[in-house]
């Protein structure tokens, strides 16, 4: 996948510069898939992103306040991020995109789906936050160390070591702290879920795929059933030998599920 050619650009929105990565097949007009990353920000490149870019026009916006996007001091909710990303898509004249939300990004994707249910081809939620799990609680950044939290996203710690290094760099720790601060600013209380979102998903008629790692220690699997129940056209897939970060732990399996679900192009 080394041949995937990612471009970086910035878009002015909400008073900040939003960082956007984009890649995809050049030869043909491909479907647009918007990938929404975790609350730990995103590494610059991941095999999972490359796997999708082999099929689709992939947009990977860095959420405002995360990774390479500037922080909007005014922002107060995760729904605000969803509105900004909706604005980004309309600014780029992109219609009927598929949304792939990873963890926290799944919450954003679900919000985006709920606010424009007709402007969506497919919805993929992977270990999505955003709904209060009927059983268990979402692992809390506020009381968990940086590395402990990041490691909790993985079933197999050797995979974590490969992705982040056994001892993540100080740059990485600092970035996690910046992302953490932004998560507190917009998702402090109730922590990492919306009380209104489940009631607003009923209008989303687009097909939805809810994916969960079988060993998700960040978002309890009970939330998966709640999403499937709230979305009219959803089904659940469990990925074996995976923690919360299915995209980093089982990239090929997740990409295959998505390609099978959306279609190859």
């Amino acid at each position: 996948m080394a041949g995937v050619n990612w471009t970086d650009s910035t878009v002015e929105a909400g008073g900040i510069k939003l960082h956007l990565k984009r890649a995809g097949p050049t030869a043909k007009k491909a479907r647009t898939v918007v990938v929404l990353h975790h609350e730990t920000g995103t590494l610059d490149r991941l095999p999972f992103y490359d796997a999708l870019a082999a099929h689709y026009d992939v947009l990977l916006p860095h959420h405002p306040g995360y990774s390479r996007s500037e922080r909007p001091a005014w922002m107060r909710s995760v729904r605000d991020i969803a509105v900004m990303h909706r604005g980004l898509l309309s600014g780029l004249n992109i219609k009927d995109a598929a949304l792939v939300g990873l963890g926290f990004g799944g919450w954003i994707a679900a919000e985006m789906a709920s606010m424009a249910p007709a402007d969506l081809s497919h919805l993929v939620l992977v270990g999505a936050m955003g709904i209060k799990p009927p059983q268990g609680d979402i692992l809390d950044l506020a009381i968990t160390g940086y590395v402990d939290y990041a490691r909790a996203g993985f079933h197999d710690q050797k995979v974590f070591d490969r992705v982040y290094g056994a001892e993540p760099s100080i740059d990485q720790l600092e970035m996690w702290d910046i992302c953490r601060e932004m998560s507190f600013r917009i998702a402090w209380k109730p922590y990492m879920y919306s009380q209104t979102l489940p009631h607003l998903l009923g209008a989303v008629r687009a097909p939805a795929l809810v994916v969960w790692g079988d060993d998700d220690r960040v978002v309890p699997q009970s939330a998966a059933a709640r999403y499937v129940e709230a979305l009219p056209n959803a089904r659940l897939e469990i990925v074996k030998a995976s923690g919360h970060c299915v995209d980093m732990e089982q990239p090929e399996a997740l990409a295959k599920l998505i390609v099978d679900f959306i279609g190859p192009e």
Partner: protein, 414 residues
């Protein structure tokens, strides 16, 4: 010179080994280890200490609050302030202070403080703090907005105290349809506000901009001097000259009638496993967004175990040598305090007299010696060094009540 007595009100009856086994003594350290029978005994011990402090002539009793931790039993400083307002006659009730960002309703706080001021017949000093990181987590308050909430709540409280109601308040973090408390402070324009702190420059700058005295909490002489350098420079920018009336200092001092016993008891200042506030997980004590962005990198290195605590770790012996802990008979204690007064020139001095498992008997002896022997000597030294408290200097309660301002920039433009 304004001279105060302070105790953290330690929950000294908690099982120390349980804290060591858990690896932390704050926030998540289970309250199954809190024994209310012992709690009741200790609260009443502390009342006895405060009553003796008044009897032996201290000027002020300093109060504070913390949450979810054995190092401090005061979960609400206003409760002890209210008790002292009714039980004492002369001492100033010096709150250092109420954690403003933790207030969901600062108007309620303004009302409580106004009640305390009236009941005490105008003896309230209403200090404000940001609250420690763990306090934000213990009370569910967003650490990322800590400083914004501090400043906005301060604005709302002081307006509730000074502006005739009803009025409406539409802030970023606080919105109030009707601000019209039927309880306003006795002291005018409002009770003195002192700001305690340990390290963050932002707080020192803010205090100097308000012309509020800053109370350095157990800093070394060198650190204290740096604090005054910064404070005075900001003071000059806004147009006044910083002096002893703007400077307070809290120091751990145990006094006894014999040197060995004093030193033995002083070891209790490090009773929380050598830490000021006990063992804590770094991300609990400094949640993201709580600290200065400029300290972010150093902090994450510390939090991940790659670097030592940027606040420093020093032994008991080193702290004694640095004069951050002083112990002895009144004579030796006065000599050491004299050096601190000469070097850092505060107008407010608080002695943190007893901590940990120091017995009630020894605590009372300490207070008696402080009131009857140490403070009279300190008053003479302060007089010779011209160290005036804000009361003696008749300093304005806030910058906006100043009549002597000569801003540096305006002066340069003339």
């Amino acid at each position: 010179m304004h001279l105060m007595y302070f105790t953290e009100q330690p929950m000294s009856a908690y099982p120390e080994q349980a804290g060591r086994d858990f690896g932390a003594t704050a926030l998540m350290f289970s309250n199954k280890h809190f024994d209310p029978v012992e709690g009741s005994r200790l609260y009443n011990n502390y009342i006895e200490q405060y009553m003796l402090a008044e009897e032996v002539g201290v000027d002020g009793i300093m109060l504070n609050e913390h949450h979810n931790a054995p190092f401090c039993m005061q979960a609400k400083a206003n409760i002890f302030a209210a008790l002292l307002a009714g039980m004492t006659k002369k001492v100033k009730i010096v709150m250092l202070g109420n954690p403003l960002p933790l207030a969901e309703n600062p108007v309620r706080l303004a009302e409580e403080l106004a009640m305390i001021d009236m009941i005490s017949k105008g003896r309230l000093v209403s200090g404000f703090v940001r609250g420690g990181g763990q306090e934000q987590l213990a009370t569910g308050v967003n650490p990322a907005f800590n400083r914004e909430r501090f400043e906005e709540a301060h604005d709302l409280v002081t307006r509730a105290w000074t502006q005739t109601g009803p009025f409406r308040f539409e802030g970023t973090h606080y919105q109030h349809r009707v601000v019209n408390p039927w309880a306003v402070p006795l002291q005018k324009p409002y009770p003195r506000v002192w700001i305690p702190g340990v390290i963050s420059k932002e707080t020192i700058i803010w205090a100097a901009q308000q012309r509020y005295p800053y109370i350095a909490l157990n800093t070394s002489i060198e650190q204290t001097k740096k604090i005054w350098e910064l404070y005075d420079s900001v003071a000059a920018d806004v147009g006044y000259v910083g002096g002893p009336e703007n400077r307070g200092y809290l120091i751990q001092v145990h006094v006894s009638d014999n040197e060995e016993k004093a030193i033995e008891n002083a070891r209790q200042f490090r009773w929380m496993q050598g830490e000021f506030t006990g063992l804590a997980h770094p991300v609990w004590s400094t949640p993201s967004g709580y600290g200065s962005p400029s300290a972010r990198r150093a902090f994450v290195e510390f939090a991940s175990g790659r670097a030592s605590n940027p606040r420093g770790e020093t032994s008991f012996e080193q702290q004694m040598a640095d004069l951050r802990i002083i112990a002895g008979t009144p004579k030796t204690v006065v000599a050491k305090l004299k050096r601190i007064l000469e070097e850092t020139r505060p107008g407010i001095l608080a002695l943190w007299g007893n901590d940990g498992r120091v017995s009630q008997e020894d605590s009372l002896t300490c207070i008696r010696l402080i009131g009857q022997e140490v403070f009279p000597a300190i008053r003479e030294i302060a007089k010779s060094l011209d160290l005036k408290s804000p009361f003696e200097a008749n300093a304005p309660v806030h910058l906006k009540y100043s009549t002597d301002l000569k801003p540096r920039k305006a002066a340069a433009a003339e």
